[in-house]
């Protein structure tokens, strides 16, 4: 298994290089350049040329890419215009906020989703199956921002149980309990959709595996139904479920723009939205690079998990 994981790790190198190239070229494709953004429409051609020279924008593409890469390797992503801070600093703090939300949401969605999927798969075509599958379908088809607004209305404004925006309360805030209270609604909103997808995938994967010969072998040896399901069926049904969880984690980590906006959660999604609105090119560039790296990371983790779940994977 180790050989496979190491091989897989090496395979991410060209992907990451490709990502840097694409994010670099992105700024070339966008109309206008950094000098236009900085100086505004009223600037003279002469001052624009001066700034372009100062920023190195008049050099060849290859030289610009080399400069970009050397800055990147030393952790310098440039200066954000909107946030008036180094891009790296803004991204780091925002990423932590997004990750907090995304990781809680994905854990919640996986745990509940796999549990529901397993529960219904044990009695397919029963009342339990139809009821829960319909409920899950309902979650699946609900837009997250709408669910967020409903949750805010019910739990925040009507019942006044939970705070509805930001990460901490202005007065008497800052404690762990306060943070947790702020996390409840956005986490639920984010988890809902993933939960539905994971539950449905678990159900169908489990129904496939439960008819396998080796499950029949386990039963024929008098093992308890709990062991048959937990030890023999579930682990072998996991590969497609892990794939789906990985995809969901990728989306959530890249900042759920709508959810973060609805709850004013200071995460990547919200920051990217602000950056794009202001044509903050260095920030957009850094943000996209970060998101792409998150996807690469999550995919790598998924593959490593695969190798763990399926001992045969090394051969393929």
């Amino acid at each position: 298994m180790m050989s496979f994981v190491v091989r897989r790790l090496f395979q991410t190198v060209p992907v990451i290089l490709g990502v840097t190239l694409v994010t670099f070229l992105l700024t070339q494709i966008l109309p206008g350049d950094l000098a236009d953004v900085l100086l505004g429409p009223a600037a003279t051609e002469e001052s624009r040329q001066q700034l372009r020279a100062a920023l190195g924008l008049d050099r060849s593409l290859l030289v610009q890419y080399a400069t970009y890469m050397s800055h990147l390797l030393s952790g310098d992503l440039g200066q954000s215009l909107v946030f008036a801070q180094p891009v790296a600093t803004v991204l780091a703090s925002r990423l932590a906020n997004t990750a907090l939300l995304a990781v809680s949401a994905i854990i919640l969605a996986s745990a509940v989703g796999i549990a529901i999927g397993t529960f219904v798969a044990l009695k397919p075509d029963s009342f339990r199956d139809y009821g829960l599958t319909t409920a899950v379908l309902f979650l699946n088809s609900m837009p997250p921002f709408w669910l967020g607004l409903i949750l805010i209305l019910v739990f925040g404004l009507e019942l006044r149980w939970l705070p509805v925006s930001g990460m901490d309360s202005a007065v008497g805030g800052g404690g762990l309990g306060d943070l947790a209270a702020h996390m409840v609604l956005p986490t639920l909103t984010l988890a809902a959709w993933s939960l539905a997808v994971i539950a449905r995938m678990t159900r169908s994967a489990l129904l496939d595996v439960i008819n396998s010969d080796f499950v029949r072998t386990a039963r024929s040896r008098g093992l308890s139904e709990a062991r048959v399901i937990l030890r023999h069926t579930l682990p072998n049904a996991m590969p497609p479920v892990i794939t789906v969880i990985g995809l969901q984690a990728g989306f959530l980590l890249s900042g759920a723009v709508l959810t973060e906006t609805v709850f004013s959660w200071p995460g990547i999604g919200l920051a990217m939205y602000q950056g794009i609105s202001a044509r903050d090119i260095p920030f957009i560039q850094g943000g996209i690079l970060l998101l792409a790296l998150m996807f690469v990371l999550v995919n790598f983790l998924v593959d490593a998990l695969y190798a763990y779940v399926n001992p045969k994977i090394e051969l393929q």
Binding site: S3, V6, R7, P311, K312
Partner: protein
């Protein structure tokens, strides 16, 4: 079947019926099946696919797949009714009372658990053993079923073991809680003959040693003959005949039993000109014919057979048979089978020499390993093979899995990369024509084992055949339909079939379509790769007869690849035996069986089961030691030397070349001419049986 009076049966099944689907559209797959089994007794259950043999046994274990229900009957183990037992107590019966071994051990073992963890599981969780003790016991069990280095094997995953080893692991798992009854469902079907012989002997030894009763399910009468005390023959969900093994094989009473016995060519008897397959197809379980389900295919049917279902009733001795004419057949010698044929094999109609000649053919595949996927080794799938097939003749190519026989066949059609060697193809050099799509496919075609997998599921039969014709420009648009009809006619199918999709056809019909497709461009040479292996015995003969008929009519040349020696002997003029990527021996077909010259051929022949309990019981098998060589790391010298009982120093270092003997064999063995080998090999590998 009746037990000796006063003895209580271990397992007693009465009137068992199993159906699938809801009450509105119920399809019965098992109908009113009754049998009983004493402690330590071995029952062989024989039937073709869909006969209900596996479903009956799954119902006994209450492990029917979803949708299947027992609609009537009773199952008693030691007098205790199993069908109404609470689930918790039924679990207690499984593993301890009744254990189950299924076919295809690869899918029957959990791929994500080590062998040790799987064997030890019920010991820990049902028997309450400590983990260390359970693992130690697991190692003992592995040792018991003949797995070398048992302790080290505990941490292997199933995919890391060979097919034979996996089946042994499955058997070790089944006997781990000392069951009273072992149900083995086609335990050797996916295995090579030499491994099959080993596994059957293991099962037989274990049941005597542990005093287990045994139910051995098989489609192969030969497999059952050596092990079973009693035999039950199933057809269309019912037992049609049951008696002691000797009575069923020696003097079958039910016409289906006779027909089944006659459908398979017997290695212990002289070859016949044409096989005697059972006409027609087994009935659709959703719409069984009225009366006796076999009557549409039966040559002895009378009016009553179509109207009234014959009950399973005594027919002399301990025999039960479900046939209106059972009384008559029991009196006479046996239910005769249609069309007894002469024993001579017709020679080729169009004779010629060396039309396909292969010299020193080698096919190698790279092995990539490690982080950088570098080529670290070579699989020598085919390693210096020389063959020749005269025009209009059939060369049978036999060998176990991994011996390189399929790769050889593919290389002859340019479907596998040729690393070395020369092929002459009807007088032309293969190197010149292999890349010309207009030439090679017109000379040689292939028919594969799995006709379902080799036909496009979205194309009708007519479209699939028409495509071949138009791609090769053999018919204009208007002529395609007529040509398709002619092709279907030549393989014995009606023209309506052209409008059907592959899933609407039976296995035998699909294989006829695959043959029609190969014939479409009128090739001179056809590679038949295990073409009857996936078919039921009663259908196999139909396909073999068709191939032989086509050969006579068109002067086709065949390379007939199969692991089934009896079918190969029947169809071939000459037979080549492969082992570890090399040809060990070639000989005219009868000489190969009566006087094998190579120790491997002899061992292979002695492993083939024969459908006659008298022969099987008295047979001495020459089991080759160990398993076939790894083609990625072949041993130096003779490929067979590690398993050969005659090997000397020279065999370990020097690769033998094919030598011609004075009786027209080609043998690759340093020692074939030595007195020791000559004497040992005169002991017949297959005892000759009497003709009924």
């Amino acid at each position: 079947m009746t037990m000796a009076p006063g003895r209580k049966p271990l397992l007693d099944v009465r009137g068992l019926s199993v159906a699938y689907g809801g009450p509105a559209r119920q399809t019965h797959v098992v109908r009113d099946v009754s049998f009983s089994l004493g402690a330590g007794e071995a029952l062989g259950v024989v039937g073709e696919s869909g006969s209900g043999k596996t479903q009956t046994m799954l119902a006994v274990l209450r492990l029917l797949p979803r949708g299947g229900t027992v609609t009537a009957g009773s199952v008693r183990l030691d007098g205790c009714e199993l069908l109404t037992l609470p689930a918790g107590e039924m679990r207690h019966v499984r593993g301890r009372g009744i254990a189950f071994v299924s076919q295809d051990a690869l899918s029957a073992l959990n791929p994500a658990m080590t062998v040790g963890a799987q064997i030890a599981e019920p010991l820990i969780f049902n028997e309450g053993m400590e983990e260390a003790a359970a693992l130690a016991r697991s190692a003992e069990l592995l040792d018991h079923v003949g797995i070398p280095g048992a302790k080290a094997r505990l941490s292997s995953y199933p995919h890391q073991l060979s097919g034979g080893m996996r089946q042994r692991v499955l058997i070790a798992m089944a006997i781990s809680c000392r069951p009273k009854l072992l149900i083995a469902d086609e335990p050797t079907t996916a295995l090579d003959v030499t491994i099959q012989a080993q596994i059957l002997r293991l099962i037989d030894d274990l049941r005597r040693e542990l005093n287990m009763a045994l139910v051995l399910i098989s489609h192969d009468l030969g497999v059952v003959a050596g092990v079973a005390d009693r035999v039950a023959i199933m057809y269309a969900g019912r037992i049609v005949e049951t008696a002691s093994a000797g009575a069923v094989f020696g003097h079958p009473v039910h016409p289906y039993t006779s027909a089944l016995l006659a459908a398979k060519p017997r290695l212990d008897r002289p070859a016949e000109r044409a096989l005697r397959p059972i006409p027609g197809l087994p009935p659709d379980p959703a719409q069984p014919p009225p009366g006796c389900a076999f009557h549409p295919r039966c040559v002895h049917r009378i009016a009553r057979c179509a109207e009234e279902l014959p009950p399973l009733s005594p027919a002399g001795g301990d025999r039960l048979a479900a046939c209106w004419l059972a009384g008559e057949f029991a009196e006479s010698k046996a239910a005769a089978v249609n069309g007894t044929e002469s024993n001579t094999h017709a020679g080729p109609v169009i004779a010629g020499t060396g039309e396909i000649a292969v010299e020193d053919l080698s096919v190698r595949f790279p092995v990539r390993t490690g982080v950088l996927r570098r080529v670290t080794g070579t699989v020598r799938a085919v390693d210096g093979v020389s063959l020749s097939i005269p025009r209009g003749e059939t060369l049978g190519l036999v060998g176990e899995s991994g011996s390189g026989k399929t790769t050889t066949g593919r290389a002859l059609l340019g479907l596998a990369p040729m690393a070395d060697g020369r092929i002459r193809y009807f007088g032309r050099d293969f190197a010149e024509i292999k890349n010309d799509p207009g030439v090679l496919p017109r000379l040689g075609q292939m028919v594969f084992q799995d006709p379902y997998g080799s036909l496009n599921p979205r194309m009708t039969v007519g479209a699939a055949l028409g495509e071949v014709l138009s791609v090769h420009g053999l018919a204009r648009e208007t002529g395609v339909a007529a040509r398709v009809n002619a092709l279907l006619d030549s393989v014995g199918l009606r023209s309506e079939i052209a409008l059907k999709h592959p899933h609407e056809l039976s296995g035998g019909q699909r294989q006829r379509i695959a043959i029609a497709r190969a014939l479409a461009i009128e090739p001179r040479f056809i590679v038949c790769d295990e073409v009857v292996s996936a078919l039921d015995v009663s259908i196999q003969g139909q396909i073999v007869n068709l191939l032989m008929e086509l050969q006579r009519e068109r002067g086709l040349t065949y390379l007939f690849i199969s692991h089934d020696l009896s079918v190969v002997r029947h169809i071939s003029h000459r037979i080549a035996v492969m082992y570890g990527g090399k040809v060990m021996e070639t000989a005219p077909r009868n000489r190969l069986f009566t006087a094998p010259r190579h120790p491997y051929t002899h061992a292979l022949l002695s492993a083939v089961p024969v459908a006659d309990p008298k022969i099987e019981r008295g047979r001495v098998r020459v089991e080759p030691r160990g398993e076939p060589p790894d083609p990625a790391d072949p041993p130096p010298g003779c490929r067979f030397h590690r398993s050969c009982r005659f090997a000397v120093e020279r065999c370990k270092t020097e690769t033998p070349r094919l030598e011609r003997t004075d009786d027209d064999h080609l043998v690759a063995c340093h020692r074939w001419a030595s007195d020791e080998v000559q004497t040992a090999l005169t002991a017949t590998a297959i005892p000759v049986g009497e003709r009924p």
